[in-house]
């Protein structure tokens, strides 16, 4: 090639992109190219005759001298990237990672080529940092993470997995993952995997489910298993995320037990109400009958006082009968479920007023049209009947006025029953809604003290509220609300009736 004729070998050096030096046997630089000047920041004159060590950081110089002596004894070509991490130092003292290749020349001369690998190093460091970070995530994860290959062989087993299953990684790596499962999954797992690989039908992969796992000591425990599939370097791997749900399961079991207990208590209460109705009433009826026969058969043997006592016995028997009925009514609310129907409250109130047959001097008016609501008819009837019968029963004015009103207040209906009766002191507002609480002596007004308690229970079961406003001597107004929607709060777990 003509163009190369007469060219100095140093011309070749000069045109190379990488920094090149020729060093003598004593390590002194005999020649350097332009790239070398640029890389290290020295003028060529400053490089010539200086020891090659002046181009590396001081802390590596002694070792480098030793290596150089060694190399001089056994000179051989060393190519780039053969595993030596070297550092160069520029004139300004800054360092850089370098890859160096060496070629022995004649007479103990050595050609050194220096390549700046800072960028490659950075990329490598970034990659290893990222993989270290990923490894740290896997290693510190609370859940066990296990990867298997498509034959089911365990490929990785993180510290949480060691802790959870009681195996060291060395005991499980390379073994079949069915080792971590109790029978029958232990035997069936290979089949699952094969079926998936053959059909692609996912039963657990990407879905996750609750299964049972087995520890090294043979104990089984519930886990939540999520499996994902991945391909790494042509290999198909499955990653299982295992979360121990023993505690959750125990909490669930405990909750179920509590519900069972509650149901038991509820059944007992139901039976209790039944027993009260029957077993208490039977002797009561006996007392009533016997008192009645005494009056009928032995009247002539009794004086007025005796007859009065018997009358009082009969009256008490009726009162107790009323109380027992009250308990039953009260306990039936919420326990016995009725079919919900559309109830026209206008019609319902007409019927209720008819059945109460208010005396001549009491006028009951319904202000405007009432809504039709979907509810249990008997219950809503009980609410109005009790409020109205109270208003009638306690009326103390010559012209009694009872008024029923309803406003559709937003989310719910607000009903009111007001009267011009005796009124109730504010300090009794709470008491009157309690079971068996009355304000008038029972001998004056026969009352069981169940009515308002019943009304409150019904209204609250429907998700409503009840309250009253009253002025002593002027009358009372009872308010209650019923939600327009979501009247479904009155449900029993297993309403059978």
């Amino acid at each position: 090639m003509k163009v190369l004729e007469g060219k100095d070998p140093l011309w070749l050096l000069g045109s190379a992109a990488d920094a090149m030096f020729i060093a003598g046997p004593d390590g002194r630089i005999l020649a350097a190219n332009r790239a070398a000047e640029t890389l290290f920041g020295y003028a060529r004159e400053a490089l010539l005759n200086t020891p090659i060590e002046s181009l590396i950081p001081p802390r590596f110089r002694a070792a480098h001298r030793a290596q150089r002596t060694d190399y001089a004894a056994h000179p051989a070509s060393r190519v780039m990237g053969s595993g030596f991490d070297l550092h160069g130092m520029r004139k300004d003292g800054t360092e850089f990672a370098a890859d160096v290749s060496l070629s022995p020349l004649e007479d103990g001369l050595v050609l050194a080529t220096v390549h700046d690998i800072t960028r490659r190093k950075r990329a490598e460091e970034a990659l290893s940092e990222q993989s270290a970070r990923l490894r740290a995530i896997v290693d510190t994860a609370v859940d066990a993470i296990i990867t298997i290959d498509e034959r089911g062989t365990i490929d990785s087993f993180n510290p949480a997995a060691e802790h959870l299953f009681g195996y060291a990684p060395s005991e499980v790596l390379g073994k079949n993952v069915s080792l971590l499962m109790p029978s029958p999954y232990h035997e069936e797992h290979d089949g699952y995997l094969q079926r998936y690989l053959a059909t692609g039908e996912k039963r657990i992969i990407g879905i996750g489910r609750e299964v049972v796992a087995q520890r090294k000591d043979g104990t089984a425990f519930p886990i939540e298993l999520a499996v994902s599939e991945m391909r790494v370097g042509g290999r198909r791997l499955f990653t299982g995320l295992v979360h121990d749900i023993t505690q959750r399961k125990q909490a669930q079991a405990r909750q179920e037990e509590l519900i069972r207990e509650l149901e038991g208590a509820n059944d007992e209460l139901k039976n209790f109400a039944y027993i009260v109705s029957h077993d208490l009433k039977a002797p009561l009826r006996g007392i009533g009958s016997l008192a009645d026969w005494l009056v009928a058969d032995q009247a002539e043997k009794l004086d007025d006082e005796g007859r009065e006592y018997l009358r009082l016995i009969t009256q008490r028997v009726r009162r107790m009968d009323g109380l027992i009925d009250g308990i039953l009514q009260y306990s039936r609310v919420g326990r016995v479920k009725e079919t919900r129907v559309e109830v026209d409250l206008n019609q319902l109130l007409r019927d209720a007023i008819d059945s109460l047959a208010p005396p001549e001097h009491i006028a009951i008016t319904v202000a405007g049209a009432l809504p039709t609501i979907r509810t249990e008819k008997t219950r809503i009837q009980q609410v109005f009947q009790n409020l109205l019968s109270n208003a009638i029963k306690y009326m103390d004015k010559p012209h009694g006025e009872i008024r029923i009103d309803c406003v559709g207040a937003g989310e719910g209906w607000e009903f009111s029953v007001s009267d011009n009766g005796p009124g109730i002191e504010a300090r009794h507002f709470k008491r009157i809604f309690q079971l068996f609480q009355t304000l008038a002596p029972r001998d004056r007004v026969e009352s069981t003290g169940v009515g308002l308690a019943l009304v409150k229970k019904i209204v609250e079961l429907y998700g409503g509220k009840i309250w009253l406003e009253s002025k002593l001597g002027e009358g009372s107004t009872f308010f209650f609300t019923l939600p327009k929607r979501g009247q479904s709060t009155l449900t029993t777990r297993r309403g059978s009736q």
Binding site: Y274, L290, V336
Partner: protein, 138 residues
């Protein structure tokens, strides 16, 4: 009752309730003889003995020891020879469950025992009136 020669069976464990029924029947001049047994098992034994007269009506309490009314009905209403005898439940129970179960077992009536004796008499009077008008199979 219409057929005076036939007896009425009362299945009742409470002594005063039994007295109440007897007294009410007497007061209403119901002349049918009253056959009293104390529980369902005694009633079955009596009814299944061919030597005993067959009652034209059974008044049945529900809550009784040994064998209660519902259990009695479950057996009697599945027995070809007994299912034809009308049964009127006479009880304290107001439970829907008892009513539903009784009627599913084919009772002819369900009456509540009132606490008050005069009302009790009225209840018995109603039963008597009904079974005076109603025809019974021979």
């Amino acid at each position: 009752m219409k057929v005076t020669c036939k007896s009425i069976m009362l299945v009742e464990d409470d002594q005063v309730d039994t007295m109440t029924v007897r007294r009410a029947l007497k007061e209403l001049h119901v002349m049918n003889p009253l056959q009293h047994v104390e529980n369902g098992e005694e009633a079955l034994n009596f009814l299944r003995n061919p030597a005993n007269p067959r009652p034209c009506l059974i008044l049945l309490d529900l809550n009784m020891p040994i064998m209660g009314g519902i259990e009695f009905l479950q057996i009697a209403k599945h027995d070809e020879s007994l299912k034809g005898i009308p049964v009127v439940v006479l009880t304290t129970s107001e439970e829907q469950e008892d009513k539903v179960e009784s009627f599913q077992l084919g009772v002819a009536g369900y009456m509540r025992k009132p606490v008050d004796y005069p009302q009790f008499v009225e209840t018995i009077r109603t039963i008597d009136a009904y079974w005076t008008i109603s025809e019974l199979p021979q």
